[in-house]
């Protein structure tokens, strides 16, 4: 058995740093828990869902996907693109974030393989930290996940001995590469958080596939103000925009996060918008996560992390929508 005392985690992070890994970990930034590059001295925050997700590591908010050198005459030549994929360990990822990576792997490799995502995925070792508690927004067990789920992760740290220790379980070759940094020991694993299932996601998916025109959607999104907070915080949401930015010398074609909740997302040049109001856009969000994505990729585009509900001031909680849908379906 490989174990580490919980207060020695910073030592493990330091050892990983020394071994040449960039360490990304949840850090307490004055009350806000954020996943960020860890450096010695930063306080790890282990019992909260960070405001951002592991998706940030593999699919950054903004990324240059093509570059061109511009000529005075108006011409251009393609410029080389440096792919940045530093050797990284995400330490103490929530299992829902790791599970989200499995979902993202599917879309980023759907026939066309996204080279930069895959390069980062290959260079990143995800060490999950099993959850020994959950809050009222968590619902991983409703979407085939678990507080100690292993999907998408290379290793799992399991709280043990009443939270004083962590048991390190390697789940993949990448995870096994880290074993040497964790000492042998003995500990009794604690029970992970007990999270009651809130809704039957398969039933929700079935209802969604055949109730597109339901009047349910009319009132369902009255509170939604159409920002991108939920989509950006979500570990699975991956919609993006492509925009060119240039100065006199260079053009950068950027891939930036986007959200189906924005009014302009599907607006045609003709002025026609297939999703002209927030109820249509909310319907798209829910249907994509619980019906469309599973139809295509056999997995929900939601891992129950609860970030959307936790941070939405307007109370748009996707789990609640699913509960209401399940009730409608009965």
């Amino acid at each position: 058995m490989k174990t580490i005392a919980i207060d020695r985690l910073p030592d493990l992070a330091q050892a990983l740093s020394k071994a040449g890994y960039r360490v990304v970990a949840p850090v307490d930034e004055g009350g806000v828990v954020r996943l960020r590059e860890w450096t010695k001295g930063l306080a790890l925050a282990l019992d909260a869902v960070p405001v951002n997700s592991v998706k940030d590591v593999l699919f950054p908010r903004s990324e240059v996907v093509a570059r061109f050198a511009l000529e005075e005459s108006g011409g251009f030549t393609p410029a080389p693109l440096e792919r940045s994929a530093p050797k990284t360990v995400v330490l103490c990822a929530r299992p829902c974030d790791a599970a989200a990576l499995s979902a993202l792997d599917a879309v980023f490799n759907w026939d066309y393989r996204d080279g930069s995502y895959n390069a980062r995925r290959a260079a990143t070792t995800v060490v999950s930290l099993a959850c020994f508690k959950a809050d009222e927004h968590c619902f991983c067990t409703s979407v085939n996940g678990a507080p100690d789920g292993t999907a998408g992760a290379d290793a799992l740290l399991r709280p043990a001995d009443g939270g004083k220790k962590l048991v390190f379980e390697a789940l993949s070759d990448k995870g096994r590469q880290l074993e040497a940094m964790v000492s042998d020991g003995q500990a009794v694993p604690d029970a992970p958080a007990a999270l009651k299932r809130r809704f039957d996601s398969a039933a929700v998916g079935r209802w969604l596939a055949s109730n597109f025109e339901s009047p349910f959607w009319k009132e369902a999104a009255l509170a939604c103000l159409g920002c991108g907070a939920c989509a950006y915080a979500c570990p699975v949401c991956h919609c993006f925009d492509l925009q060119d930015e240039s100065d006199k010398k260079e053009c950068r074609r950027l891939r930036n996060w986007d959200s189906c909740g924005f009014g302009l997302f599907t607006l045609h040049a003709s002025g026609h918008n297939p999703r002209p109001d927030q109820s249509a856009r909310w319907r798209q969000r829910v249907t994509h996560k619980f019906s469309i994505y599973p139809q295509k990729f056999k997995t929900f585009a939601c891992t129950g992390c609860g970030r959307c509900a936790r941070l939405c001031q307007a109370g748009m909680a996707i789990a609640e929508t699913c509960e209401r849908i399940e009730a409608l379906g009965r």
């Binding site: 393989r113 993006f240 925009d241 994509h288």
Partner: protein
């Protein structure tokens, strides 16, 4: 397939032709033979691409020329916004970027031996023109070929030169029409909306495939005419358009229900279309 998804082909404008107010056709050549061969190794009729001007962005149009003409590709588009304006500001000889071919295609091999009926409206002729030329370039493989094309006015008809060529060909039938009020004094074609003209034509459904492209209202009114003539939903083809950015099924923008227009489309049979939520179009 294709690790660096956003790396475009470089194209040069060989010629440009104004088709109608704000509508222009470009004939584009690939910057090098390797690129040309790579593209035509994959290209099937009905596919689309993203045409771009570095610094301005990319815009999605069909490839308006067929794979049987493998020296060049053509695109026809209306100036409606920033990128299309920038494209139309380009001169012959200047370069632009192209990503593609993307999407599915018209299964023309399965149409061999069958009669073909093409119905198009306005700026929707370009995707059709690609498949019409593909058929005409392989004429002997197919049965009767008929094209019904209408626009708001004579000025709005695109590919006017080609319409004249098609009208002169003995191996196909062309019917052109303009909306009432859109005719000029010397207009020799029909006057009337496409669905009405089609009804008058009374096409035979037996062993016939219909391909239909046009504004939503035209499609809506034409489908009952075809149904009335006995065309089966799986024998009616159309193309869907939607706002696109990546073209490769990742940016999440173009889905109609569970179908991604850029990957599962843009070519659909009416049978497939009828299973999609109309409220998401």
């Amino acid at each position: 397939m294709n690790d660096d998804l956003y790396k475009p082909f470089l194209m040069r404008i060989e010629s440009a032709r104004d088709e109608a107010p704000d509508v222009r056709t470009f004939r584009l050549k690939f910057a090098d033979e390797g690129a040309r061969a790579e593209f035509f190794g994959r290209y099937r009729v009905g596919q689309f691409g993203l045409y771009g001007v570095p610094g301005e962005g990319e815009s999605t149009f069909c490839v308006a020329s067929p794979p049987t003409r493998a020296d060049y590709i053509e695109c026809t588009f209306r100036k409606v916004g920033r990128v299309t304006q920038a494209l139309q500001d380009l001169e012959v000889g200047q370069a632009l970027t192209f990503r593609g071919p993307y999407g599915n295609h018209f299964p023309i091999d399965s149409w061999k031996g069958r009669d073909l009926l093409f119905i198009a409206g306005g700026i929707a002729l370009p995707p059709m023109r690609s498949v019409i030329w593909n058929i005409l370039d392989r004429r002997a493989e197919f049965g009767k070929v008929a094209v019904v094309y209408g626009a708001r006015s004579v000025a709005d008809l695109v590919y006017k030169q080609e319409l004249a060529e098609w009208a002169a060909r003995p191996d196909m039938t062309l019917v052109t029409t303009v909306d009432p009020g859109g005719q000029t004094p010397d207009w020799k074609g029909k006057v009337g909306f496409v669905p009405a003209v089609l009804k008058e034509l009374s096409p035979a459904a037996k062993n016939c495939v219909a391909v239909l492209c046009g504004p939503p209202i035209m499609i809506k009114l034409t489908l009952p005419v075809l149904a009335g003539r006995g065309f089966a939903p799986q024998d009616i083809y159309t193309t869907l358009e939607n706002r696109m950015k990546c073209g490769v099924g990742k940016c999440g923008r173009c889905n109609v229900g569970s179908v991604y227009v850029c990957k599962d489309g843009p070519v659909f049979t009416l049978d497939e279309l009828s299973r999609l939520p109309a409220g998401d179009m």
